[in-house]
Point group: C3
Chain length 339, copies 3
């Protein structure tokens, strides 16, 4: 679609510096923009690109307008305004309600007439697929699942069993939700499987990334709150509870029965041991491993940045000699004490 800067300023309640009649039809990077583009500037590393942009307009903060050679939409949160304008310019493709003839849907399941069930989908017993929900190609929906209105399983998602997904969620390809948790009891003859009996309850407006796994609860449910965002290749173990609007970057791993608060941020490749409680508003930086409860909002870290290998090897050797250094320090303290 095409829209004028004036209309955008009115619709989104932001200030316009420039010609309200100029029209834009697409989102672009500062560097890749042309006369039909709207772009955004929020990271000062790209100021040189701002200065040289050929966009029709740039979304930016008031303080940056002076660096902008073209029209500007001024907003205190340019990235958020960009997200909204880009969604307007690039709406999700329309979809065709109906069940593809190649899909297999159990007769005990109910599918809204406004939902779309694509090719190569298999839906088990006692499921409910809500209004305007999209079950993309290759998805497997096991027994006793509910998919709320407007939610989308992009493609090849697996809901194993007893998964309840709220409204307006997006689940990306390869995600597996409701798989058995890792419950094993050791006997004299080896591991005995602990049956996994719970389900997964996912709130509204949740997004779950590609090839992420979310285990069903061992007895009760694994719970993911409203507005949670989970990236690719994340592991959520059984009985985990994640508070609203928490976000987890790729490859983070949450061990069983951990309870996570609201609005937390987990960096990539971070992790927690099991049975922890983490309060609201906690930031776990990339690669950090949480081993204890966290009851104080704030930022937590624990990974060492890489260095040249020769430097790093020397550090490891130094760390290994810390006992010896401590002994030498004590010895010298004693000798000086005696003097």
């Amino acid at each position: 679609m095409t829209i004028s800067l004036g209309e955008l300023a009115i619709q989104f309640g932001c200030e316009l510096v420039g010609d309200p009649s100029v029209e834009v039809s697409k989102a672009s990077t500062l560097g890749g923009a042309d006369a039909k583009s709207i772009s955004f500037f929020s990271n000062s590393a790209y100021r040189e690109q701002l200065r040289n942009t050929r966009a029709a307009a740039v979304i930016l903060r008031a303080g940056d307008a002076a660096s902008c050679p073209v029209s500007a939409l001024v907003d205190p949160n340019p990235y958020l305004l960009y997200a909204r304008i880009a969604s307007l310019l690039h709406p999700a493709p329309a979809f065709q309600p109906g069940i593809h003839p190649g899909a297999v849907v159990a007769s005990t399941s109910r599918v809204s007439v406004t939902a779309q069930i694509a090719a190569a989908v298999v839906i088990g017993n006692n499921c409910e697929i809500g209004d305007a929900a999209i079950i993309g190609p290759g998805c497997i929906v096991g027994d006793d699942c509910v998919i709320g209105a407007g939610s989308r399983l992009v493609a090849r998602v697996t809901l194993v069993q007893n998964v309840n997904i709220g409204a307006r969620c997006v689940i990306h390809p390869g995600a597996v939700i409701g798989c058995d948790g890792f419950g094993n009891a050791m006997s004299q003859d080896g591991w005995v499987k602990v049956p996994q009996l719970g389900g997964v309850v996912i709130g509204d407006d949740v997004e779950i990334g590609a090839n992420t796994t979310v285990d069903r609860g061992a007895i009760e449910d694994t719970v993911i709150g409203n507005g949670v965002r989970i990236d690719n290749l994340v592991q959520i173990a059984h009985n985990v509870r994640i508070g609203e609007h928490t976000a987890m970057a790729a490859m983070s791993g949450i061990s069983g029965s951990t309870v996570i608060g609201k609005r937390c941020l987990f960096g990539g490749q971070s992790g927690t041991v099991g049975h922890l409680t983490i309060c609201d508003d906690v930031i776990i930086t990339g690669r950090a491993m949480i081993t204890k409860d966290i009851s104080k909002p704030g930022s937590y870290a624990g990974s060492f940045p890489a260095e040249e290998s020769s430097t790093w090897k020397r550090r490891v050797a130094r760390i290994r000699r810390l006992d010896s250094m401590a002994e030498r320090l004590s010895a010298i303290e004693k000798r000086v004490d005696k003097q």
Copy 2:
């Protein structure tokens, strides 16, 4: 199903404290239990919940019976007994033998008449699917695979080629078994693929988690022993051999040609470099990276617990000044020596 405490005590050979005629029909948590529930207590962190439980009965150790307000089944290993009783109360759903009309099975493959092949399954050439095996919806079974009696591919599992799975295994959705290992030889023109020619041999009673990958051997086979338990998102590289009853938590990664003993435990996000030998009865704690052979049973660790970011930054700075501290320590030693 419903069963009395008296029958449970007899069937599982445990002591009953309480009324043998009381009946239970489901497993519950201590906190979520009602008069039809059996629960278990094995982690003292939940003692308060034990004291307040409304379960019909609790499985626990003899020493904990005094804290239990209801009937008790007394056993030295409550979690194991719970696993067995929960399996009795919540049996796996019955399955329908037969091949779904939407499945594609090559004429050169043999499927037991008691096996179930679900919708959207594709089975290649020269495969054997054993008695009472379940191939869930969306599974791909490549050429030359064998699936033993009673094994279950839950859904959307891929066996790429030449994978031999024993009896009573469970493979969870998204797992890929028998994919090519990462073999590349550098030439003047770039990488040349080293053909991956081996297969994967999996013993009996093995469980493999969702979205886990197990590479086929480069020449000979990758081997996973009887009773091994592998969690979600684990990588097992080519030529790895894993001994019986070893268990690996989510996101652990085993590099190529590593040989792992029996009854080892790998914590989440742990890893090994390649070509190692790890003996029986080794515990690798979460996030540890094994870089050398291990020939002594015991516990191995190597990750740093996260702390508040400001504290952690100071530690990193301190570690980076260790060379300087060591020099200062030597200097002060020399000065004191001279005095």
Copy 3:
């Protein structure tokens, strides 16, 4: 196939030590070889196996010929020569051009008559499938994708949308390419999805491992250069650009907008934060986390090798006492200064 050592020496331009009329028909390990086998020796850890091999011939370096009890093909890069000879002896299985009747291909897509589309494949709109391309069973190809000549999607691969794959690529099962990047802007009401509008461009001769995820660009494309090799369970975030012939071992994770040079090597479970630039010819060792730009070729490391847990706990405690040690060292320096 069967071929004589003499023919191999001529075809691959290497020196033969032994009888040119001896024939081989398969690749084997040194230990598993028989009279029809060709094997290779490039890692001195296996010298004892070389001495005892029953192979017909071994590919090795000139300096190792004296340890070889059988015929030898002598080459400065035995592993590369092995890769080529093994590919000759074990060619990829022939495939059947044509579209399986169970596949669903949109009428707006073009499929070469020499391509193979297997069962349970779904191909969306406006795609082009090149000559001799193989789309294995269960693959989902979304709208606007191009798959070049001779490329192979092994099975159950998902190309979400707007993915352009060059010639002779291999994509392994479970890989998801073109999924949305993790773009979220925080509003007062929670996260707002930033629409992901770009695609993925993959060069020629690229290999991507099982269950790996490659996000589409946020606005422009994610780009993977010619000859890149990516192992299993790797995450490539949006807008990443990877230079030619770079290789990444399993479970490595590249954050958004990072630009990686040519011929880099990433060890297993390594990672980068976002928006970095890494120059050509950089080696990132296993588990290293890159937090800054790298402009100097070489090797970078940052992970601590595991040790016995008791030893490691002592090291952690020592590190936590480094502030105190530093203070004690300063104190003792001052005291000695005063003497």
